[in-house]
Amino acid sequence: MRAPAHRHVDSVFIALADPTRRRVVETLARGGTVTASGLASQLPMTRQAVAKHLSALRGADLVSMSRVGRETHYKLRPQPLDEAAHWIQMVSAEWDDRLEALRRSLAKRGSRAQ
């Protein structure tokens, strides 16, 4: 479960290096399926700028696209983010356990010394 975060998350982080793109992702997370124009109306940027960011996010597999009549709909794909978040949660839990064991080990020594 750890490997995917290392192997596949690179492009996710590169895509999210841009603060504007993070806003696009957050807006998508709230909005479900939207069009580029719909997104632009919620963000301080032009439709063209939104389209450019959506293209970068699609490159990182963070956004999927579908045609509905004449409109293009975009939707967030949170799985790539989930891999990285999963790694963080898992490794955090491992260190919480180890640090607790360290604390106990030191406490045992301390009480023996007294």
């Binding site: 750890r2 975060a5 998350v9 604390r103 080990s105 030191l106």
Partner: protein
């Protein structure tokens, strides 16, 4: 360690945890860098060549990781890289800080590797983003 902002994003660790212990930095240092002491809390089998550039091996049943010691500053800072076979490397760093009546032990772990520049930046942001996305992620 303080979380930095966008300027030095690459220095932001993915994972940062800490604990307060009733022990001096010297006692903590021994627990962090002595093989027998490490086997009391880190993993059942730990091998460590306690110098910068030395090797570290940590085995817990099937889970086996090896790496290299990067920093070995007595009673202050202990850092190494480690990885499982075929998986990406992480950088792990312990920092020991003296407090009245004890010490604070902080550990950070951050993936490194080909994408080191892009890595590291997002722990706090991702965590926040992840929370904001949790309704989607749970589904």
């Amino acid at each position: 360690m303080k979380l930095r902002d966008a300027q030095s994003d690459t220095e932001v660790p993915w994972v940062e945890r800490e604990t307060l212990v009733e022990a001096t930095p010297e006692e903590v240092w021994e627990a962090l860098t002595d093989e027998d002491r490490l086997e009391e809390w880190m993993a059942p089998e730990v091998e460590l060549d306690p110098v910068e550039g030395g090797e570290i091996a940590v085995r817990d049943g099937e889970d086996h990781r090896t790496g290299t010691i990067e920093t070995f500053e007595e009673s202050e800072r202990f850092a190494f890289t480690w990885s499982r076979p075929g998986e990406g490397e992480s950088f792990v760093e312990f920092t020991i800080e003296a407090l009245p009546g004890g010490s604070r032990v902080t550990v950070v772990e951050t993936p490194i590797g080909p994408s080191a520049i892009a890595f590291g930046a997002w722990t706090s942001r991702l965590a926040r983003l992840h929370r904001s996305l949790s309704f989607t992620l749970v589904a």
